[in-house]
């Protein structure tokens, strides 16, 4: 099972956890597994078919937009990072 790490703004959707595990051999499957357990997360990061443009997904430290997007394969030892834009500075 891959590890999924969530940015702070997303944690309330998964019951407050910083990190959850998910099944799947590619990113699409991993996210589908997450959405089935945490429907609120889908609303937050992927309300439409494709990945939202305001969220960055990394597998290990690589941006999936520069890999194979939703088709990028995910191994059991990989870490998926979900990182939406963050603006606070004050």
């Amino acid at each position: 099972m891959a590890t999924v790490r969530l940015a702070p703004v997303l944690r309330s959707s998964v019951g407050g956890s910083k990190q959850v595990n998910a099944e799947g051999s590619n990113l699409s499957e991993v996210l589908a597994d997450l959405y089935s357990r945490f429907p609120a997360l889908k609303e937050q990061i992927q309300p439409e078919e494709s990945l939202s443009r305001f969220i960055n997904v990394y597998i290990n430290d690589q941006d999936v937009r520069f890999l194979q997007g939703l088709e990028t394969s995910v191994g059991p030892n990989d870490t998926v990072i979900l990182l939406p834009a963050m603006a606070g500075g004050r």
Binding site: P8, F54, G89, R90
Partner: protein, 395 residues
Amino acid sequence: MGEASREIMRQARRQVPEWSTPQVNEAMAHQHEAGRENQEIVLVDVREKHEWNEGHIPGAIHVPRGYLELQVEEAVPEKDKTVVLYCAGGVRSLMAGATLQQMGYKNVVSMAGGFGAWKGNGYSFVQPRTMSEAQAKRYSRHLLVPEVGEEGQFKLLDSRVLLIGAGGLGSPAAYYLAAAGVGTIGIIDADVVDDSNLQRQILHNTQRIGQYKAESARETIEALNPDVKVITHIERLDESNVARIIADYDVILDGTDNFPTRYLLNDAALIANKPVVHGSVFRFEGQLTVFKPYEGPCYRCLYPEPPPMALAPSCAEAGVLGVLPGIIGILQATETIKLLLGIGDPLVGRMMTYDALAGEFNELRLFRDPKCAACGENGHPENLPTYADVCAIPA
């Protein structure tokens, strides 16, 4: 001069050949024509620092006689080069020459008559820029670091940094940039100091509640370092003023609290080709990266669009641990100083994230998007949409 010292002089004169100032001048001019790769002659000024500061021969290196044995091998590693030494009148250089011969330098020459004769013949000399005694003391810990040194410190004193916001990120950054002697610090902020700011915005204090933040920042910075000129811009960054305001600065430190300003700044900085040191914080976590136009990704490569209103991170919950912007702001100041000095590896194309609760730093690789609407091959940063403020609670 006593008998013993005269004897030492006689001895040195027998051992060390002398060139007249016209001979040295001609040799240096010849060498100048030969170009940088064919430097057969090294000119070394062995006088004291205060003498060097009053003027020296162009192209000379400075190794004071008191440090000669300790420093010359580092300054002139090749012992078969012709080393021409000079002092003020040609005496100390002779004795220094004897020392260099002892150390194994094969072609040592002393310039007869020294710098006095050089100047007397009307040959050119340069006067290095010097630090005041107060500056030499204030920045002494920078001067001791070879990567900064006097040259770097002058660079900082000549540098101009713009802080977008004198808030949580801007506060610690401004403090350290001012302490480091960044000569001009611009601050754009239209807000006034509020009680709720003081948990993290350390430029301000209780007495300054109600005062413009930019003015409060100026008072704090000027009290810390009178070398720093503070320029206040009491206005909000918008389409009408962004190009004018950023034009005068070398590096921009982004400490804003909202998406529209970040996109606005990104596009304007691309057009003006100014690096932006980006930081943001939320609760216990922070992010930091450097957007260097056309060398690394820009903010739109990273986030092509801001989150829509309905899906934006809940701003009502957007608290922050007070010390967190302190950490990220200081990292931004560090990156800014690296950019100004041109040292190290700036965080271009890398995002550093910090999780205070876990006590963890992580790094993500960022890529330039060739299709980026702002900095991509067909990008047009000048006519991109700016966005309504999706997080419009007051700072």
